[in-house]
Amino acid sequence: MIPISQLVRDMFANRTRLLLTILAVAWGTFSITSMLAVGEGLRLTFGNAIANSGEGSLVVTGKQTTKAHHGQSNGIKILLTQHDLDTLKKSFAGRALITGSIAWDVHIHRNAKESRGPPVTAVEPDYVRMHAIHVMPGGRFIDAEDNKQHRQVIVLGDHTVKKLFNANENPIGQYVYLKNKPFLVIGIQNKTVQLIETSQYPDEMTNWIPYSIYQELSNNYNYSNFIIAPQDLTIIPRLQNEVRRYIASSRQVDPNDPGLVDFINIQEEKQKINLFFYGIEIVLGIIGSLTLLVAGVGIANVMYISVRRATREIGIRMALGATAHDILAYYACEAGITTAIGGVIGLFLTKIVVFIINCIPINSDILEEFGSPRPVMSLSVILLVIFTLGATGLLAGIFPARKAALINPAEALRYE
């Protein structure tokens, strides 16, 4: 095999052609990498948004029966009760955590200001373990003691804070009023993007109070949702079945009634959304790959010309003892080195562009709504680009190199 230094020197013998080929590969690499980085940025941003809905949990909501069953007429409203929660807690012990929440349609006041926005959600302390709540530093979420002591405390959502407080005010430690009862603000929910809504309103618009104080003030012992967090995600379908059977038997309704309860399987939703964004990434990747393909055709073309021009030289090398394998390796290496140099330049260029984009402050409400996605050059993107580059270089180099290797030395030496 020819030493690499000599091979590189041979390649640089035709500098302009080499530089143009490298430029084509660099541009192709830049296209595919930037496209994939945009797709990856979207997927990761939305992936975080999914996690904000509570990873791997199952949300149960009571509905209204649609079938008559054993003398029961249809249209029975399924209310999730404290008794249901206690029974399921016992049944799921060691396999899954379960908690309940309810949306309370009550206005929040502060001085003359009033938030008529979304309701307050009354939750048990376990809620925070299953549903990712990000409380801003300096505050905390509702804990077991709050529930036990029936404390009048509240965690406000970003939306409510903006309505009731001035921008320079710190709401923590201040009081707001629910049904004229003072509630101490103990935490503020960080603004988050939530892709899968597990209740009527997204988290950033919700406010939380302890379930015990809700019961006391409203005299209602029902829940609008149960949230189940299994220890093993594979048992979700079984748990779903158990919930359905329990609700049906306790109400003496048909367990197969589609109107019984509604389930939101976050894991399933996450997979669907992930698939969607992988799809987007693939489409963007394909668009980028097409550019790289054009560069690949360019390399192949240059290599074919190179082989044709070097026919006599190939004959000389063969006369001196080069095997077909030596010739194949020589031209395959030439294509490989060209692709590698172009690829590294392309990747470096993308890295710079991604860095610049990430440094630009973009104040857009629409982008913020979606979690401000930014292009991300993750390891998987880099590996995918390297793989595509390798395949392009191999394909672009192998055919001309093979053509070179199959040259008859006697004929090649006659070539003018």
Partner: protein, 239 residues
């Protein structure tokens, strides 16, 4: 040890052009011994280049048996032929066939790369050979910085660098002035003196006469074989 280096038996080379069958070469029997200085003489189109290609393992015969150094090379595969070319044969061409962008040293070292000789040894042997052909002060010169005679001397150094048993020269003085040509011939004679086997393919009667044996070829067949003034026209022995 058998002193027969080359043995050709019933060698034929045929080309097909459309429906036309061309017999480029037909040699019944030909042997060349180690240390011989042979000239293959013939006009253009006589088949001498075809013979050289077959002798140099650059091409394979359509039929027949070719034995080089006790090895039947007509049965070898392309990669094995490449090995034979590298280890047994040194080529010298009319148009020198040097790599234009490589220095004299790199050109001479090239066959050693394919023999997987380590770089320092390659350089040392190539420099030594260039010194022997009188180009010790031109190691880093590229072919276009050298005269025709110097280029051919680089090609001779390249042919000798692997210490081959056979040197094949195709019109080695064809592109040279008479003074340079004479220098090249003297180098060949020196090689023969050192025990090398040299076959020169030429149409130049004067050059051929410097060899100890002249094989005349015409229409793809050997028509005469003379050794040091001894003329043998018993064509039945060769044809």
């Amino acid at each position: 040890m058998n002193d027969q280096l080359i043995e050709l038996h019933e060698i034929r080379k045929e080309y097909t052009l459309g429906n036309l069958q061309l017999n480029a070469l037909h040699i019944n029997q030909l042997t060349i011994k180690t240390g011989e200085y042979v000239a293959v003489l013939g006009p253009s189109g006589s088949g001498k280049s075809t013979l050289m290609n077959i002798l140099g393992c650059l091409d394979t015969p359509t039929s027949g048996k070719y034995t080089l150094h006790d090895k039947e090379v007509s049965l070898l595969k392309p990669n094995e032929l490449a090995k034979v070319r590298n280890q047994e044969i040194g080529f010298i061409f009319q148009s020198f066939n040097l790599l234009e962008y490589a220095s004299a040293l790199e050109n001479v070292a090239l066959p050693l790369i394919y023999r997987k000789v380590p770089a320092p040894e390659r350089k040392q042997r190539a420099a030594q050979l260039l010194e022997q052909v009188g180009l010790g002060d031109r190691l880093q010169h590229r072919p276009n910085e050298l005269s025709g005679g110097q280029r051919q001397r680089v090609a001779i150094a390249r042919a000798l660098v692997t210490s081959p048993s056979l040197i094949l020269a195709d019109e080695p003085t064809g592109n040279l002035d008479s003074r340079s040509g004479e220098q090249i011939i003297q180098l060949f004679e020196q090689c023969v003196h050192e025990g090398k086997t040299i076959i020169i393919v030429t149409h130049d009667e004067t050059l051929a006469k410097r060899a100890k044996r002249i094989i005349r070829i015409f229409d793809g067949q050997v028509i005469s074989d003379e050794t040091s003034g001894l003329k043998d026209n018993s064509s039945a022995h060769y044809i």
